[in-house]
Amino acid sequence: MSKSLLTDILRAIRRSFSRFLSIVIIVALGTGIFVGIKSAAPSMSETADKYFSDNQLMDIRVQSSIGLTPADVDAIAKIDGVSGVMGEKFVDALVLVNGKPEIDIDGSQISTRAYGINLKKLQEHYYGVADNNFINKPTLIEGTYPTKNNQCLVDASELSAPESYKIGNFIKLEEGSRSDLSGLSVKEFEIVGIIRSPQYISFERGNSLVGSGKIGTFIYIPDSVFTNDYYSEIYVTVNGADSLEPGSDEYYDHINPVIEKIKAVSDKNIDTRVSELKNDLPGQIISAEKEYNDAKNKYETGLKEAEEQIKLYQQYVDDPQGSYNDAVKKAAEALGLAEDEFNGNSNAYYNAIETYNKNLEAYKNARNLQTEKYQQLTEAKDKYNSAERMLTTAQSSLNTANQFVSSTQNVINSTSNILTSLEDYQNGKMDNSQISQILSTLQGINPDLYASISSLSAVSMATEAIAMINPYLEQQKSQLAVYQADVEKSQKELNNYKSQFEQAATVLNTAQLAYNASEAQLNAAYDELESFYNKLEGSKNELSMAQIELMISKNEVGNDLDMLKSLIANAPSYLQKAQDEYNSIKASGETKLIAAENRIENAKKLYKNLDTAKWSVYDRTASPGYSGFENAIDNIKVLSNIFPVIFFLVAALVCLTTMTRMVEEERTQMGTMKALGYSSASIASKYIIYALFACIIGSTLGIIIGVYAFPYAVYKAYSIMFTLPPLKFTMPVPYIIGGTIISLFIALGATIIASAKELKVQPATLMRPKAPKPGKRVLLEKISFIWKRLNFTSKVTTRNLFRRKSRFIMTVIGIGGCTALILGSIGFYSSINNLMKMQYDENGVSAYDVQFVFAEKQTDDSALMKILKDDNRITDIMLSSMQSVTGGSERAEKISDVYLFVPKNSAKLSSFIKFNNRTNDESLILDDTGAIITEKFAKDTDTQIGDMVWIETADGVTVNIPVANITENYTFNYIYLSENLYQYLFQEAVSYNYAIGTIEPSIMSDSKTTNNNTTKKAALATELMSYDGINAVAYVSDTVDTLNEVIGVLSAIVLIFIIAAAVLAYTVLYNISNINISERQRELATIKVLGFHDKEVSAYIYRENIILTIMGIALGMVLGIFVHKMLIIYCAVDTVMYVQTLSWYSYLIAATLTAVFAVIVNIIMHKKMKKIDMVTSLKSVE
């Protein structure tokens, strides 16, 4: 490419930027929509795929009616092909958030499934530890993982989780009817984190026996709070499954053998479990019964107390004055009694004082007597004592005298002895030594004498000694006599004193006796006095007590009366409180009792059903919302085949007209170049490169925006229904290449066509201004009566329109495409809306309001049915049988899910379900000649009246059924069979486990919440659910609500299409107007000079736009019908038959929106036309 060529192209782009831009935009739109919509489905599917394998979504789920044990987990783990196994415990319960019940979308109290999760595994998962046996890992979106027993994680779904599921709030699990929380050690949890779980990708949460019958949300609580030892479910992953595309046939082919193997091991494991339970259950039942009785007693007492309160307050309310007066009277009586008692006490007290005083006197007398006697005694004692002393003295004197006598006698004796000895000595009868020895005894008697004797010589000695001793002896003898006289005297004295003493002793004795007597008398008097004193004190106490009591009673009576006054004044509110109390005791007690009863019932039932225990083994499709997601992806795939076509077609036309105009404008230049010797190819290369630039920029832009924006928007729309991780964009390389090639082909093709035409002519011709296209008469002119009536602008418009056919076609198709897109998508939206109406509205097919699913089969006069029939809120009810089967025919390959419906009473069926032939509007009646099948099923199986269809039940029974009629029906497939025909075909009795009913309209229409924050409808459902034997109560209106949510999603997608349509319409109209203006600049300038006002000038061009728009809209209406049909055919959900007719307002909306886009473009163009310089009209023709 030469530099000058490039410069020329760049200048051309700058000069005609809006033209360049329109090619860029339309190419961007075409490529963007193509690539974007094509990559939406793969992006979504890969996002989900990655999510499932990252979080190890289970491939298989095992349930058992009797719970599963660790042994079961082990058994499954050993199965060949199993990669990971995890036992899971959960409970279903009602939820209180921060103490308040939460309400589900349908108005019933929300129920939750609380899964146990291993905190350690969770932490490991957080730190990235791989663990094959940790299945269905949650992803933390906000907050933290729990670390304590009383913390939990909650559901992040926008649709299902209540707004109060916020970090820091508290969730309390409550027992609803049939939920059993006895296996939980903790029931209140703080929300610490918000998570999404791969197990719940959809807003659908599945069913439960708690509350209204469906699970509202789920939470994760620490598994350590579960006290029971069995698992609710076992999750299994299969080796190599996560490398396969979820939902693909290869995937299911890979999973199914493992499912079969699991089923195969189930029998042995069930037997073990059953024998375990047979041992344990009876004991559990007994202890549960005991608990129940205790609770019942407590409940009844509480109720009685509350009743009394109510009675009391009721009386206050009924007769306030009387109650008060009674109370006053009673108070006065009580006070009188207290006073009487006080008086009695005071008398007793005075009597006691008197008695006491008397006794005191007696005591005093006794005391005086005793004192006197005591004195006497003392005196006698003194006398006695002195007599005793005298006696003693006399005795001792006597003794002393006696001693003197005896000692003197002894001395005399000794001395006499010595004298004798001495005489013996003298006679020689004794030798010296002997005498000395005897003499020595004298030494002890009279030493002086001894000394004198000792000094005597031996010869003289005896004589002398005798001489000496004799006097001494004589002296001693006289002394003895004296002493003997003394003794006599003392003896006399002693005798005297002795008699005196004896006298004193007698006196003392008498005094002592008298004293003792008086002492005893005093003691007796004292004792008596003391006892009377005690009595007095007692009576004093009693009196003061009586006084206090009297005072208190006086006070109390006053206070009581005051209180009573206020009680009576506020009696109505107290009564209300008492009644509330009563009600709350009653309600909570009842639910508790019911729950306890249920627990017992469940255990009993479990025990009873042990022999029929069975494992259910499911793949992912059984999980709620899973197949919905697969459907959604398929739908987008279909849409991606329809819409890009329109955009590419318009893109081709826009490129063609734009390039044609460009080539026309530059024909002089082309001629000059040709004349200068440039080849046609090199001249054309300018335009080709120009278009290439636009195309490359446009498709790049389109791819960038489309690849991200489209999947994002679609995903965002679906995120209302599905809780999935943020979209993972995939580069759809084949589509990017494909889209680019298509746009290149379109842009270059258009350019080559446009330039080839001009380049064929001679340069000289090119250099001359192109002979203006001769004005041509249009067909309309021949109809002169119309033509005459047209003014000039109309005439110009009409002729202009038909002058440039390609432009005309482009505009009409572009606008038509816009209208068609809007009409198709809005129509699709309203078709679903309509089918909802035709199925569920007042005059719709389903005239029933509610469906009941029973736990066991019922008869028309079974107890449960009687209760339901007698309930006047249920206006009508019919017992039926409903089972989900698969059905098909030999004429078609398609196999559908069908409900086999057998009414107990065929004749009555028409008041619940409208049977109607849609084509001839004839009412149909179900009889024994054949089944009535629904239209969609008939179509899918290519069935006419009189043909046969086959069905296969869940138990594997296959039956051929003759078709007697085909009825109008829009949602789900049904086969209606009469009881007799069923019994004939199946050779067995019908098991009526289901009923449909109608509800009092005032209840159904009550959308306002009454007290307790629930609708009447929800309250009724909750009440009905509490009946034993009802497994589910499902309102038709809930189905409608859910379907409406889906419609909400569709409306977002419709919006995307409307935006795309708007861009399309805008580009086309802008382009056409732009070309028109640039081409007719001279003409516009001229009419401006002629004095046309700005508005008139604009109208001159507008008229064309308006007519083109109208024609485009008209075309769009026709195209839209096809788009709509295609959408319906390709987006058809198995269970839904769409209403194929478009409503007038779909047309109106489509037309109006297109017109609005056109008006916007015209407003922009008006500004552009205002700027046209009149002076250009004077310039020569280029």
């Binding site: 002979a771 203006p772 296209k773 001769p774 004005g775 041509k776 003014n791 000039f792 005439k795 110009v796 002729r799 202009n800 002058r803 001279r1082 003409e1083 300038a1085 001229t1086 009419i1087 401006k1088 000079v1089 002629l1090 004095g1091 046309f1092 006002h1093 700005d1094 008139e1096 009149m1174 002076v1175 009209s1177 004077l1178 020569s1180 023709v1181």
Partner: protein, 233 residues
Amino acid sequence: MSFIELNSVYKKYKMGEVTINAVDNVSFSIEQGELCMIVGPSGAGKTTVLNILGGMDECNDGNVRVGGELINNYPDKKLTDYRRYDVGFVFQFYNLVPNLTALENVELASQISNKALNPARVLEKVGLGDRMNNFPAQLSGGEQQRVAIARALAKNPKLLLCDEPTGALDYKTGKQVLDLLQQTCHNTGMTVVIITHNQAITPIADRIITMKNGRVSRIEINETPLSVDMIDW
């Protein structure tokens, strides 16, 4: 007071740094009913004067009076009305709407005028009574210019402005057109201003204004205008 009065009119164009005075202090007046020719070489500023006079362009300075009204101060809307009711314009390249027949082209003008003449009769007057339903492409240059004149006349304007009306025509048809313009002027008393670079045709005018380099170099009153037959070029 004259019907048209220009008083010290300037029109400046800014071309980058340079300011060019396309019209540089131009003053002249034209009486009612006169056929006036503004003559000069290319770039003399005569078309700019005509544009200003026709309300298609604004002057930067000076006064422009038409019929006593000061039109250079008109707002856009009033200026459009001025063009609509008071001025008829004949272009060098006719500027007919190719998709409209001769009659319709005339009607295009007459339908917006409040005192319009009958389009068919005007066409007859310019000698195209039998070509009325032809499209411009089916007409010769002279015929097309006559349709253009008819279109200007049908509005019954006070002032007819013609920009090189014969510029794209051959000698013979040019003469016819000039004759038509002179007749119109003399018969209806309409003021006609013709711009031309062709000095040879000026003798048919009542007043000749010669311009050079944006200035009026000469104003000549021709007491005895020649008929078109008399001139030659």
